[in-house]
Structures are given as structure tokens and as C-alpha cells.
């Protein structure tokens, strides 16, 4: 018999981790929804965020330096990746997939060269614990939840209430329509890549702080992102949030109630079921005609 404490642990923990999953998946789906390409370097960008924070700690820059590095370096990297490679291949989505996959491998191998395969501990962001319904959680998880939702909320406000944000929506619906009103799609795409890079970097910072950082940490996150956006509907921000929570809850419930060794299986099971029952995802592509 499952007791109340276990259920409350599952609910609170899943709510917090799923928020981070949503943040990761939104970056991934934003790039697809607006630019129509899949960024397979998204996982490696998360890894880059974690190692940027790690190096900031090594250089004695403290927590503020780690936070700043984990946001700016992946964001700049994503911007340079778009301008240097993806922009030239935008009309060839398969080539973009191959290119970003290669870039992803290069980043991972570079980390192996410089840091080896050993996991690295990041500077502790926040210490301490808090209790909800008799269960205790790390403050870090609480911060992860708050920061993730804050960023998701800011993105929502940015997209819906700023001129550039409306430009993002316009390009996601019709590239030609956007051009007809003077919106430069390449500029909008660059902005989405930078936002996705920054979100991935923050995710890397939290994941690295919560667990540890290693060269392959982004691989599982890429699979997770892919599962979430397929479940929610590729290109749908709302779908990504719902998909993240669905998979997050299932993952935590599996870990707590069945076996932690089955944790990675949960997203794949949901993915297969959705592909069989509703292949367009729960929300389809909400913007595209």
C-alpha cells in the first residue's frame, strides 16, 4: 500500500523536475516551430551550460559567475551555430539535423579531451532543504521550479506582448507572410536560437548542480526533449509544457513506485503510445496552418 508521504513526494518532486524538462523542451520546440529544423545539438548545449558553470567555479568566479557563464556561453554558442552553419542550410532540414548532430559529437569529444569521462561537481548554487506535507526536498529543486516557470512566463510575455515576439509568432505561422510585412525570418530565427541556447544553459546549470556534469549528460536530455515535443506536438509550446509534466510525473512515479532502473523507459513508453494513438501529438502544431 502506497502511503500519503510517498504520493506527496512524487507530486512535489515531479512538479519541480517537470518544470525543468519543460524549459529544456521549449527551447527545442521553439527552434522547430519557428525555423522548421531540429537542433540535435540541443543536448550538447545543455552540457555546455553545465561545464561553463563548472569552469566559472574553477576560475573562482563564484555562483554569480557560474550563473552568468551558464547562460551567456550556450546562448552565444547557439547564435554562432545558427549564423555560421544552420542559416546556410535552412532549406535542407536533414542537413541541419546531420550538422547539429556532428557539432554535438564534437562538443562531447572536446569535453572528453579536456576533462575526461569523469563526472564533475558544480559549485553548489543553493544549499538547504524545505518540507512539504512531511517530505523534505533540496532548496535547489525549489529554485529549479521557480526559475523554470519564471523563464517560461517571461517567454510567454515576450512572445505575446512585444513586437519581436509577435514577429516570432508570425514567422512560425508563415515565412512568406512574415516577409510580406517586412519581418526578416533570419533575424527572428537567430533570436529563437539564442533563447533556446540560454534556456539549455540554465537547464545544464541546474542539472549539473543537482546531479553532476559529464560529457554525455546532454544525450539523455536530447532524447527527453524529443519525446516531450513529440508527445506535446512538435512546434507547440503549450504541448511541450503538458508533455514535460506527463513524462516527468510518469518518470518520478516509476522511480518511486517500481524501480529507479526503469526511469529512462517512461518517456519512451509515452512516446510510443502517443505515436500509435495520436501521431501528431497531443496539441499538434498549434500555430502552423
Amino acid at each position: 500500500m502506497v502511503n500519503l508521504s510517498v504520493i506527496s513526494t512524487i507530486i512535489v518532486q515531479a512538479a519541480m523536475i517537470s518544470a525543468l524538462y519543460a524549459l529544456i523542451a521549449i527551447g527545442f520546440t521553439l527552434i522547430f516551430g519557428v525555423g522548421g529544423v531540429l537542433n540535435l545539438a540541443h543536448g550538447a548545449t545543455i552540457t555546455m551550460g553545465a561545464f561553463s558553470a563548472y569552469y566559472a567555479g574553477q576560475f573562482g568566479l563564484g555562483v554569480p559567475g557560474a550563473v552568468l557563464a551558464s547562460v551567456t556561453i550556450p546562448a552565444l554558442f547557439a547564435g554562432v551555430l545558427y549564423l555560421g552553419m544552420v542559416k546556410r542550410l535552412e532549406d535542407e532540414p536533414i542537413m541541419v539535423m546531420i550538422t547539429t548532430l556532428v557539432v554535438s559529437v564534437v562538443i562531447e569529444q572536446a569535453i572528453v579531451v579536456f576533462e575526461g569521462t569523469t563526472s564533475r561537481a558544480l559549485p553548489p548554487l543553493i544549499q538547504g532543504q524545505f518540507s512539504i506535507a512531511g517530505s523534505t526536498f533540496q532548496n535547489l529543486l525549489g529554485a529549479m521550479f521557480v526559475v523554470s516557470w519564471l523563464l517560461i512566463g517571461l517567454l510567454f510575455l515576450f512572445v505575446n506582448y512585444t513586437k519581436t515576439g509577435k514577429g516570432i509568432l508570425a514567422v512560425s505561422m508563415s515565412h512568406k507572410g512574415a516577409s510580406l510585412v517586412g519581418i526578416k525570418s533570419s533575424r527572428i530565427n537567430l533570436i529563437t536560437w539564442i533563447i533556446a541556447g540560454a534556456f539549455a544553459g540554465i537547464a545544464g546549470l541546474f542539472l549539473g548542480s543537482w546531479l553532476t556534469a559529464d560529457f554525455a549528460m546532454g544525450q539523455a536530455q536530447l532524447v527527453l526533449s524529443f519525446s516531450i515535443v513529440v508527445v506535446g506536438g512538435i512546434g507547440s509550446i503549450r504541448g511541450s509544457v503538458i508533455g514535460a509534466y506527463l513524462i516527468g510525473f510518469l518518470e518520478i512515479a516509476t522511480t518511486n513506485l517500481v524501480s529507479s532502473s526503469l526511469q529512462g523507459l517512461a518517456p519512451l513508453v509515452v512516446l510510443v503510445v502517443v505515436l500509435l494513438v495520436k501521431p501528431e501529438g497531443l496539441f499538434g502544431r498549434e500555430f502552423t496552418e
Binding site: 513586437k163 514577429g167 509568432l169 508570425a170 512568406k176 507572410g177 516577409s179 510580406l180 519581418i183 496552418e289
Partner: protein, 250 residues
């Protein structure tokens, strides 16, 4: 085609009614081995309404897209004295060259008002233009909160023209604005085009509906197989045997 097109009562040549805003010289466009435009010449004077008519596949949309910077071409297309190919489509929009495409290319999951708002993304005063557009097409104001994709074809066409007008165009390129529309909607569009013309906007109307084009245009160009085979005023072309037999039902 021109040699088989009957007696050329209306001459093919360049004439404008005012200072030239758009000048097209010997333009060729091809899609691979298919030649879509083959040496097109055209002049549009400021404030004129020039129409390009012709059957399906004549090259009207290709011409519209070349003028708007969406297609590469050989020859010369000069807008306000500058070569179009040296600008991207968005820069041309900033300079007032606005196209309303055959497919409309609306933002389907946005409201009418958001679509119109985006029309002023790089130029045009929102309040002033919105008043003009709502006055022109009151239906749009009645449906301002409705998503574009839920509207009828005629309403979508009004919205597409309305969005183009929000950008305060200096040259408005209308590609097949009457395509697939019911007669009652045609009247609204027709009245709208008259009002736009009264505002002093220069218009290039690419149109398959010859009667509609003749009712509005200052000069007409007949495009067939990528070539301009007739040019003249609506009156001149109405007297042209070939035009009468082929496009006006005898």
C-alpha cells in the same frame, strides 16, 4: 505567341502616366528549364493602376514575385530607381513595395486585428491605417477578434488587402485578388480597389478576370506564355479582336 495573336491594334511598348515608380526591362525568369517570363517590359507611373492580365500559367504570379524580390531574374526591375535584386523582400517592404499574394499568406492562427497590427511591423501608423482599413472593409472590424483561418475566402482576401494597406504602400502589387470569390464579395473588393486608388496608391493588379481588370486599370498588359503580347488602355483593348474573342467572349 504574339505573332499568332491576331492583329495588334494595341501596340506593345512602354508608356507611363506619371513619374515612373517601377520600370521593368527585358525580364526573364525560369524555373529550371521552364521559361516563365521571357523578355517582359513594363513601366508604372506614380499613382497609376496598371493591370497584367492573362490565363493560368501566363507568368502573372512569377512577375509579381519577381517585382517583390522573391524570385531571381535576368534583366532589370527598378523600383524607385534602385534595382530590386539588390534588396531583399523585407527591405522592399520598408521602402513601400507591398505585395498581396495569390495565396494571401495570412497568419491563420492570429486574430484579424493581430494580422493587421503586423502589417505595420516596419512601416505605417497603426491607428491611422487601421481606421482607413476598417472604413474600407467594415467586415474586418466586425470580425476583429476572429482567427484568420476561420474566415471565408472573401473575408480572408479583404484581410490580406487590409494587411497590405496597413504598411502604407507606395506600390501595391495585388496578385489575383478576385480568385475564387463570389460575385457579392467581388463588389466589395472592387469598391475597395477604387478607394485605394483614390488614396493615390500606385497599384499593379495581376488578374485573370479581364472584365474586373478593365473596369479598374489605367493601362492593361496582356501576358501570355511569359511575354507581353498586348498593351494599351482598357478602351483600346476592348476594341482588339484577339482580346474580344479570347478573353471577353466575343
Amino acid at each position: 505567341m504574339s505573332s499568332d495573336a491576331g492583329s495588334p491594334e494595341a501596340a506593345v511598348g512602354s508608356q507611363t502616366g506619371g513619374d515612373s515608380i517601377l520600370s521593368i526591362g527585358d525580364v526573364h525568369v525560369s524555373y529550371g528549364k521552364v521559361q516563365a517570363l521571357n523578355g517582359v517590359d513594363l513601366e508604372i507611373g506614380t499613382g497609376e493602376l496598371i493591370s497584367v492580365i492573362g490565363p493560368n500559367g501566363a507568368g502573372k504570379s512569377t512577375l509579381a514575385n519577381s517585382i517583390s524580390g522573391f524570385l531571381p531574374y535576368d534583366g532589370s526591375i527598378s523600383y524607385q530607381g534602385d534595382e530590386v535584386s539588390e534588396n531583399d523582400p523585407e527591405t522592399l517592404v520598408e521602402r513601400g513595395l507591398i505585395q498581396c499574394t495569390e495565396k494571401r499568406d495570412l497568419f491563420g492562427f492570429m486574430s484579424v486585428e493581430d494580422n493587421l497590427d503586423l502589417g505595420t511591423y516596419v512601416r505605417g501608423d497603426y491607428e491611422e491605417r487601421l481606421e482607413f482599413v476598417y472604413d474600407l472593409f467594415p467586415t474586418l472590424e466586425e470580425r476583429k477578434d476572429q482567427h484568420a483561418h476561420t474566415m471565408s475566402g472573401g473575408e480572408q482576401q479583404m484581410l490580406a488587402i487590409g494587411r497590405a494597406l496597413m504598411s502604407d504602400p507606395e506600390l501595391l502589387v495585388l496578385d489575383e485578388p478576385t480568385l475564387g470569390l463570389a460575385p457579392v464579395i467581388l463588389d466589395d473588393i472592387s469598391e475597395g480597389i477604387d478607394r485605394i486608388q483614390e488614396e493615390g496608391v500606385t497599384i499593379l493588379l495581376c488578374e485573370q478576370n479581364v472584365t474586373f481588370a478593365m473596369n479598374h486599370a489605367d493601362r492593361i498588359n496582356l501576358l501570355e506564355n511569359g511575354e507581353v503580347v498586348r498593351q494599351g488602355s482598357p478602351e483600346e483593348l476592348r476594341d482588339d479582336d484577339y482580346i474580344r474573342e479570347s478573353y471577353l467572349g466575343g
